[in-house]
Symmetry: C2
Subunit: 231 residues, 2 copies
């Protein structure tokens, strides 16, 4: 292993990391883990993958250095190993989006207007939210919101958006986001809001991208967080 042609050995390691990314379930898990440290069971619930499979996939991800784990009581909490992983996922997304025509068709097909991608920087946006000039809308499920969100964001899960429109400002611009650039919840939220005549845009990125941009993240100590007390 160690005394073989170094080039081969290097490629083997790089290939191992890429192989770990080469599974839909693991990508799904990675996106969820990127939201914040989580237990195996919670990830199984959120992704709908059987918990034994989740455990195995997480171990595969760990072996290739994409996630890290620590024990807390009787559960094991997994997290993204470091910011480079988020950037790697971004680069993968970029290549796939730009080059695989299929993706374009899927996104375009489902969501008419592929809307203004990041017309305003995240840092500026954070300032505007603080000044009350725009409203950030987090359309993820409540428990995910609780474990970490953009400061000042309003949480209305996509499923309830239609009914709870009154909770959102009428004229102010609304910026929707969810898990990350791949997450379709935000696309759908923007489509719905625009149909209702609201001024809405999508944040090109989710919580992980917000975090690695060096911006603060807020957590709700409790908010349906029965399963989250330990975090």
């Amino acid at each position: 292993m160690s005394r073989q042609p170094p080039k081969k050995a290097l490629f083997a390691q790089f290939a191992a990391v890429a192989r770990a990314l080469g599974s839909e379930h693991r990508l799904d898990l990675l996106e969820h883990v990127a939201q914040g440290e989580q237990s195996v069971e919670l990830l199984a619930q959120r992704t709908g993958i059987p918990f034994a499979s989740v455990s195995q996939h997480l171990q595969a991800l760990r072996k290739s250095g994409l996630v890290a784990a620590r024990r807390d009581g009787r559960r094991v909490l997994y997290r993204i190993a470091d910011d480079g992983v988020i950037r790697l996922l971004g680069a993968l997304r970029q290549v796939a989006e730009r080059q695989v025509a299929e993706v374009e068709r899927i996104v375009d097909g489902y969501f008419r207007d592929r809307d203004s991608l990041e017309p305003v920087s995240k840092k500026e946006l954070a300032a505007r939210v603080k000044d009350g000039l725009v409203t950030m809308l987090d359309v993820r499920p409540e428990d995910e919101f609780a474990s970490g969100h953009v400061p000042g964001a309003v949480n209305v899960p996509l499923a309830q958006l239609r009914k709870r429109l009154t909770e959102l400002p009428k004229r102010q611009e609304i910026i929707a986001y969810c898990r990350g650039p791949w997450c379709v919840l935000a696309f759908e939220a923007v489509a719905l809001l625009r149909k209702q005549g609201r001024k809405a845009r999508r944040l090109d990125g989710g919580l992980p991208e917000w975090r690695i941009a060096g911006l603060p993240v807020e957590t709700s100590a409790s908010a349906d967080g029965k399963r989250l007390e330990r975090q």
Copy 2:
């Protein structure tokens, strides 16, 4: 395929790209393709992979959008699909390097000093080469050098370096490079030069990185290029 949950369909595409990267042979081929447009046969020669396998791997890479192909006469020339691919490879390398301890050990084990990584920008370097303040040393095989290299670089393949030391300036700083950041030839060259008392460093990156930085690339119309006339 197209009317399935969009999230799944997106992940499937991203996973497909990652899977395409998850093979040592394909990474090897990608590194070579990144040097410049090349035919299947030439790639087979340079990588030592049977040509039928090379063809299949290239098709896999093409299907996932990592390389593109065009026909020229009776040969098919493959090239990197776009700059995003180089960046993706860089991100992969970064994650693997930072997180997979194995790589550190391999690199450190083989090459004592992991030497000054990119202490000077590529743009500045290009200027210094032009002014004759430093010498760029390309240690790749002659035919690879011929199909594209840093302007003004001297080509001495690693195997001949010890014998041809006299061709290099005695006191001037020497910057060695080869195919890319993973390429070990440059590490070895620097080690050898330093042992000889020369002032040598390694360029953190190779021709592809040079190219996507927007810097010019020079080709030798002829230089052992019997097989390269058409390029």
